[in-house]
Amino acid sequence: MEQYIQAPISASDAKKLKAGEYVYITGTIYTARDAAHKRMYEALEKGEKLPIDIKDNIIYYMGPSPARENRPIGSAGPTTSSRMDKYAPALMDLGLIGMIGKGKRSAAVKEAIVRNGAVYFAAVGGAGALLSKAIKSSEVIAYDDLGTEAIRKLEVEKFPVIVVIDSKGNDLYETAVEEYCKL
């Protein structure tokens, strides 16, 4: 089933999404990967404010290649999410509602997804050229010194993702693989 959603998304809309659904996201999302997560986490530990308001927002685990002239962004596919597992629960507890990446998540992340009614999407890894076409603008809004790892605000239009872990804790990586396993 295909769904079209507007980002940021409300908790009630996030709860409607089911593992296995194909979703097109339109609206505003933010990028952050390893170094930005580490910095945000350290800021929280020191009692400082985050550079973005993450409530109801979606973070895309992505560090783009440089944009050519007159283009909003370069290649822009997902990076492996598990490297952000250490930091994701704390962000969800502060209101982060969605994450886009690729690959498995830890038990602690799944628990935080269920606890907060959040959702984990996968974008297709290694499809960075195609995915870049759904990104209409990109602006570095924090941690500029991190280069590709800076936090970017993206305006996306029909950005294609698949719901992998839904708010009930269903995990498509487990169920879909079982269906085709012949060993």
């Binding site: 290649s65 290649s75 290694g126 960075g128 050229a129 590709t148 498509l172 693989v177 012949k182 060993l183």
Partner: protein, 280 residues
């Protein structure tokens, strides 16, 4: 003795970095196309079609196939009758990488120190493997390696008693653990034998062999085919979301080893298995 000016190396490496990150080699294009027709899962098929579109957009619009344009892994086979002039070879290779990644709008993904982690801002240094071979030619292979799949690679120091079954188990373990993280459909490079470092380098080099080319050693060819079939029964599928296309090929290289050992290196590569090759 044939003289080669290192400025030729700079130019070739630069062009190959850009080429490899925007265009797959013919063997990979063909394997990716075939997979669309053989995949059994509808979602898997949809993903493989997206990857076809992705390759088309990458080439037409000059957007890297994947944003992780990799660490530049370079194999250099140097004919022993070649004499390099005009500077030192290693500096020239790194200069080629610097120019390729800067002028080609490729991502700079290399940090200066593994723990201090400050970006070098030009994707240098490259990882360079040199071989001295007969002749007066230089063969360059540029294989930019993304770390989604690199992180899922393994070295297993098996016991001789583990035998071929142990090797199969090791490869399958690495593939299963990699799952969706390594951006399947994968290409699996395997090095069996040698030493700790030799099996890893063989596994890496195996990834640069065309995916439709099998080993010339009969039992190794059989092992490659059997492992591919088994891997495609794991159900992992395209993007790890279920299906029958988990790997496009298993390429195995072997080497003599010690009476006490059976090292196995498994280097996993995603479907963006980049390898540009030139002979100078």
């Amino acid at each position: 003795m044939r003289e080669i000016n290192v400025s030729d190396i700079v130019e070739n490496i630069k062009e190959m970095c850009i080429e490899a990150n925007h265009f797959l080699a013919d063997d990979m294009i063909c394997a990716m196309k075939n997979a669309v027709n053989t995949e059994k899962s509808p979602l898997g098929q949809q993903i493989l079609c997206q990857l076809q579109d992705n390759l088309k957009i990458a080439g037409e619009d000059m957007i890297p196939i994947c944003q992780d344009t990799g660490m530049a892994v370079i194999f250099v086979e140097i004919g022993q009758d070649v004499h390099f002039v005009g500077g030192d070879l290693e500096t020239a290779i790194n200069e080629g990488v610097r120019q390729g990644y800067t002028e080609g709008y490729l991502r700079k993904s290399v940090v200066k120190d593994p723990l201090i982690r400050e970006n070098t801002k030009d994707n240098t240094p490259a990882i360079i493997h040199y071989d001295i071979v007969p002749g007066d030619k230089v063969k360059l292979t540029v294989a930019p390696k993304g770390f989604g799949s690199e992180n899922m690679s393994r070295v297993f120091m098996l016991k001789p008693a583990d035998g071929i079954e142990g090797v199969k188990e090791a490869v399958l373990t690495a593939v299963r653990d990699a799952g969706p993280n390594a951006c399947p459909p994968m290409v699996v490079g395997v090095g069996i034998g040698g030493t700790f470092e030799k099996c890893a380098i063989m596994a890496k080099k195996a990834l640069t062999r065309a995916v439709n080319e099998r080993s010339t050693i009969p039992y190794v060819k059989d092992l490659e085919e059997e492992l591919l079939e088994t891997i495609n029964k794991t159900g992992i599928g395209p993007a790890g979301l279920g299906g029958t296309t988990t790997a496009l090929a298993v390429n195995i290289n072997t080497y003599p080893t010690h009476i006490a050992g059976l090292p196995v290196g498994v280097n996993i590569c995603c479907h963006v298995n980049r390898h540009a090759q030139r002979i100078i």
